[in-house]
Symmetry: C2
Subunit: 327 residues, 2 copies
């Protein structure tokens, strides 16, 4: 049994808790929180919720610690810190800062002889893997990534900061015509506007100026101004009823050519359609928890990403079984 | 530079030759053939075509030998034999016999200290990888594989054996409604007939009984009887003009659930759309040639499959570059 600890019990931490129930070779050992542990009720019976100060006492009881904090401030500090004592997996997703995060985590994990897997999830994660495989196979081609349909937390937050807005949710939606052009091998050059639509569901405060809200959202630089944005005004009840999920997904495509005269076209497409972004991310992490545990046992220490890990290490089955059922 | 040898100059061998031109870190060293070498004209200038008896003299000059023979009789003999002297990659695709092939190749490669990668291509190969990743991520779910639209060599051969048939080609086509049902998370139970259509383009001999040909094709056990099959009679010129390509592709899907009450559905879909089946297979092999070479240098010997190979090993770029551009 792989003994798993969870640090941080937000949406992702809850997702890890779920994922562990679906992996019979894993067991949740403890949930750690910076909040008052007594205020945190988890759903797995008999598993303690502990303050982070207890982590130092649990180093022998946990095989892999999953770090469920945010990429902005939590993980840059937590992952190198806890890699000193635990095998860890995180979902660090600030693409531009991955090199420095990797370096810090690698140093800590090499010194401690632990295995740390960073940036696990679907993007970065499964989407990254698919970009890499597709580029390795088709050296001459073009990459496209589309996100959605799905809820963007950052854009939903931006809507909620607009004056007169009580609540709101934003969906990122790929433009179907752009996807089709890529699938047809047209290798289009796509502007930001041509790739994604933004659809907003907004609950206004009583008496708010709806036209003003709509104009302010649509004109918001970086977030909405470069997109075709639609704004729907709805009630709090409708928002709760129709938009309380956290779906997401997207498409990674590579279109390339082969042949002595580059005469043959090929398309590689990877698509995710997810009812729950955090639960899917957690499910990917669970597979890499297994890999981290096995790699550490085999002496493969330091910082790793999805690129460094043999696919078989994600699975509980033997090599023989994997070849029989999946090859 | 990775020095590559090709054994067998059919469609796949020609594809490898093309792929090498697209990978600047690879160089074609020689093509080996069981035919009279003088009868084989290759397209890369300055590269010799040699008889297979010359292989034993070339062990120092070739980093990886790509075995381009057939799975029925060539590879079961060739891969274990040449793994004694070379790092090798093959595309062995008789799924049921992979365990015994693996065992024979593993024994030879371990004894010689070489690295042998078997069953490389898209199915087995990229499709297998996607089945494995998707199963690791979503332990509770269902797998679906659809093939096509593409030319099936075996079914085309079967058509050509029918009395009164001069020439013919068969396309395997996924049933769109079945694909949509899977994408919608309906987890359908699909019969053979519900998954794929078979479309035949047949050039009849002069004076042949067309109704009899059509009936014989449609009723052929194993090949066509279990499918909805359409038969089109065309001329040799039309066959040549419209059906001389070797396109293929398909879809690997896994539909699964997460959540404490399994309330959230997820779909993972991988799709290939290929103008040239052999050239794409060859492009996958080229990436694994690079991996075989690197693994051997690092002492990772014996038989490997796509499941055993860290994705980064497929790429010429450094880990740093891969993280920067693809993660």
């Amino acid at each position: 049994m792989i003994k798993v600890g969870i640090l941080g019990y937000g949406n992702l931490g809850k997702g890890i808790e779920c994922a562990i129930t679906q992996n019979p070779d894993m067991e949740l050992k403890a949930v750690f929180t910076r909040r008052n542990p007594e205020s945190v009720a988890i759903r797995t019976e008999g598993v303690p919720v502990l303050g982070t100060e207890k982590l130092s006492e649990m180093t022998e009881e946990i095989d892999v610690l999953v770090l469920c904090g945010g990429s902005a401030t939590d993980l840059p500090q937590q992952t190198p810190e806890y890699a000193k004592y635990f095998n860890v997996v995180d979902s660090f997703d600030t693409h531009a800062k991955i090199p420095e995060h990797f370096a810090a985590v690698d140093k800590a994990a090499k010194e401690s002889g632990k295995t740390a897997v960073i940036s696990v999830g679907w993007d970065p994660g499964m989407f990254s893997l698919n970009r890499l495989y597709a580029n390795a196979i088709l050296p001459e081609g073009r990459d496209y990534t589309f996100w959605g349909k799905g809820v963007s937390q950052g854009h939903s937050d931006a809507i909620r900061r607009v004056e007169g807005v009580k609540n709101g949710k934003q969906y990122t939606i790929p433009v179907e015509a752009a996807l089709e052009a890529v699938r047809n091998g047209e290798n289009p050059d796509l502007t930001t506007r041509q790739k994604h639509l933004r659809e907003c569901f907004v609950v206004p405060k009583e008496g708010a100026d709806l036209a003003k809200i709509e104009a302010e959202i649509k004109g918001m630089p970086n977030y909405f101004a470069d997109y075709d944005t639609t704004v729907h005004f709805i009630t709090e009840e409708e928002l709760e009823r129709d938009h309380s999920g956290i779906p997401h997904g997207g498409f990674v495509l590579r279109s390339g050519v082969t042949g002595m005269s580059k005469e043959n076209k090929h398309l590689i497409e990877y698509r995710l359609k997810l009812d729950s972004n955090p639960e899917f991310t957690a499910s990917v992490i669970a597979a890499y928890v297994r890999a981290a545990c096995r790699m550490n046992k085999e002496g493969m220490t330091g910082c790793k990403t999805v690129f460094d890990i043999p696919p078989a290490y994600l699975c509980a089955q033997s090599g023989e079984e994997l070849r029989k059922y999946f090859l």
